[in-house]
Symmetry: C2
Subunit: 413 residues, 2 copies
């Protein structure tokens, strides 16, 4: 029995749904718009995509997206297609061309979104998955239980290396577990990468010598491949324990090559996720998208945060967070660390803990830490206390009675 | 005077448009949702994005995209932002994070689409652009004037190497200039890449020895980086003159690395373009998107075709085609070859020629060639005749009087 690739879609069509499904299946495998003499039944059986399921969900009087065929009614369905692995072999770029190539623009389609995928085991053999995951991240950061309490250097851009190091000093002194660059931070002349790493790691290493625990700093190394490799090597040479990469900015080959080269956890930022997902009738659900990057080998994956400052509703954030800790393959789970960010404070701790089902995660807060009236150390402590409360199942305000930093934090969160 | 990066957007917002514009500018540079003490006026002047222009286009009573802030009216505008190059340096991945990062999902945004960009000259110095372009393509293919008449191997997948070579033989005998793999063709066990290249190039080389002109075959080498390099080398070793890559499937680093390695023109396929562009209120206009890939160094760029089988209207296709031949920089135009495909016949020749303003292009037709009642050679000839007519400015049916292949073609196009 041949291995098959499965993908599910939300489809809206002005055509007969089954015909539209067959057109998509054909266009993404052996068929085309024109009937071909050499598309024999044998060839189709060998290479054709198969409509596995088609469930009608409802109808709409107008199309969600323009440019498609005219109709009086537009049927919305859940569609599952499958392809024989022999069409492409276990290759992620070719998988993308197949499950998310030239299908969104078909005239039969007035809405199409890829919801999920089920990949055959040969992908697990062909790709490495994360090298560190939560275990490696705990080991490097010295945080043996609970979430990594983190923050982001702000302003996003504009600080020079000395100012950046000063901010890191403040955070490290405050007991922070994790710090990341903003995704806009690069290697400009106002804040050259090498000098930033040198100054920041001096602070981090000095503090680690005293405390025995090294704050993990995710330096944004996003760039061309040679730049990323060189920057990674510099971080490593200075005793750094993490690098950050923007997946959509470097693309799949960028991440797979970085994974090969890297001796550090890859903190994966999803900048650009909005253009892939913001229209509910088009693009990508996170459950499908994140599989690609986990196979490619990232360790930490951004999932937004509950009650965030962006437009994503909480249900979508929960689904995203759960998707990255769901095993990809029975014998190779490739689970990664969900990273929560955007308007996070201790107030989301209980809900986030309940949603993920564990504290194997990174939470980053800016205002939620810096806004503490008693300073950064109190801010870090308060956020950790909120998580301690969540983990032991104690109500937040109750826990605050015995924990003054948390008590004070509740006044500004 | 510092160099600046400019980007224009179509923006819809439930907020005051200027405030929304300032939020986007802030979020994509030195600001954040929280007022920061260290975002000093000096820092903002040095690193902040600037709202250059904001033109209100109209209003709508409901938001185009869900999840944003509530409002009674949603204002649609054209917005131009600029950034100092010092924020990122001339680096394409960091440019992506800046102009198309975490802004589409802002709550202030109920629609956002990047329309165009104007990049400073330092990008021209940092990136190579196309190595071959139209000049190199004409030289390698021996087509000194007029468009390259091309086609695509169909069925997309399912033919074995022998069957593929047989189809190539038919096309080469018919005088075709250009053949490409379908983007779904990869390196599966039914049609291993090496055997396909070996068999196809044997046919192509033998024909070239007789005719003195070698058909250009764009083999799809899309894959992981090592795979692409190895496949490229194999094509080169067998005397091939072109390789194809799916940009969205390999990403920016995939293309820049391939450009460094390649000794052959890069035929760039835009599979997945639909999920980036199909919603008019979200994502990318081609005019902005194509700049990235031209800088990265592709030679041929797909632009769909007039009266295509997909959902893109002709006006969008024309804009796309014109955008790729518009110089990127005064001293380094980096123009690439527009590739027209999808339901193309000779009937689109005149309009396409008028839109591009030259015949420096590749046109690929499937049914438009194979459907000719007198066979493939007649189909190729008829398509070339249609273009000859367009170039000399003769009306198609008039030209057909003296050209029997075209005459016959008009009965089935």
């Amino acid at each position: 029995m041949s291995e098959r690739i499965h993908a599910t879609y939300w489809l809206e069509t002005g055509d007969d749904p089954l015909r539209a499904a067959e057109v998509i299946a054909g266009e993404q495998s052996s068929g085309t718009f024109l009937k071909l003499a050499n598309e024999t039944p044998e060839l189709k059986a060998r290479s054709g995509a198969v409509v596995e399921k088609l469930e009608v969900l409802g109808t709409a009087p107008t199309p969600s997206l323009p440019g498609g065929m005219g109709s009086k009614v537009f049927t919305q369905c859940k569609l599952e297609l499958s392809w024989p692995i022999e069409n492409i072999g276990p290759c992620l770029p070719n998988l993308l061309s197949t499950v998310a190539g030239n299908l969104f623009e078909l005239r039969q389609v007035s809405g199409l979104r890829i919801l999920d995928m089920q990949l055959p085991p040969s992908f697990a053999a062909a790709y490495p998955g994360p090298a560190f995951g939560m275990g490696g991240t705990r080991q490097l950061s010295g945080v043996s239980s609970g979430p990594l309490i983190g923050t982001i250097i702000k302003p996003s851009v504009g600080l020079n290396p000395t100012e950046t190091a000063e901010q890191v000093q403040l955070l490290v002194d405050g007991g922070i577990d994790f710090i990341k660059d903003d995704e806009l931070q690069a290697d400009g002349p106002h804040c050259p990468f090498d000098e930033r790493v040198t100054r920041v790691m001096r602070v981090v290493n000095q503090a680690a010598q005293k405390s025995g625990r090294k704050t993990m700093v995710a330096f944004n190394i996003t760039g061309d491949l040679d730049q990323m490799k060189r920057r990674h090597d510099l971080v490593l040479a200075h005793g750094g324990t993490c690098v950050m990469v923007c997946m959509n900015s470097v693309g799949l080959v960028g991440v797979t090559e970085l994974r090969k080269h890297s001796a550090l956890p890859l903190h994966a930022h999803r900048a650009g996720w909005g253009y892939l997902s913001r229209s509910p009738q088009l693009g990508w659900d996170f459950a499908a998208w994140q599989q690609i990057w986990r196979l490619a080998g990232v360790d930490h994956l951004h999932v937004n945060g509950l009650r965030n400052k962006f437009s994503e509703p909480d249900a979508v954030v929960v689904e995203a967070a759960q998707s990255v800790v769901k095993p990809l393959f029975d014998n190779k789970p490739m689970t990664v660390v969900p990273v929560f960010s955007s308007a996070q404070t201790g107030l989301q701790a209980h809900d986030t803990y309940a949603a993920v089902g564990s504290a194997d995660l990174i939470v980053t807060a800016g205002g939620g830490i810096f806004g503490h009236p008693d300073g950064v150390a109190a801010g870090v402590t308060a956020l950790r206390q909120a998580w301690d409360a969540a983990i032991e199942g104690t109500e937040l305000t109750h826990y605050a009675h015995q924990h003054p930093e948390l008590q004070r934090a509740l006044t500004f969160w």
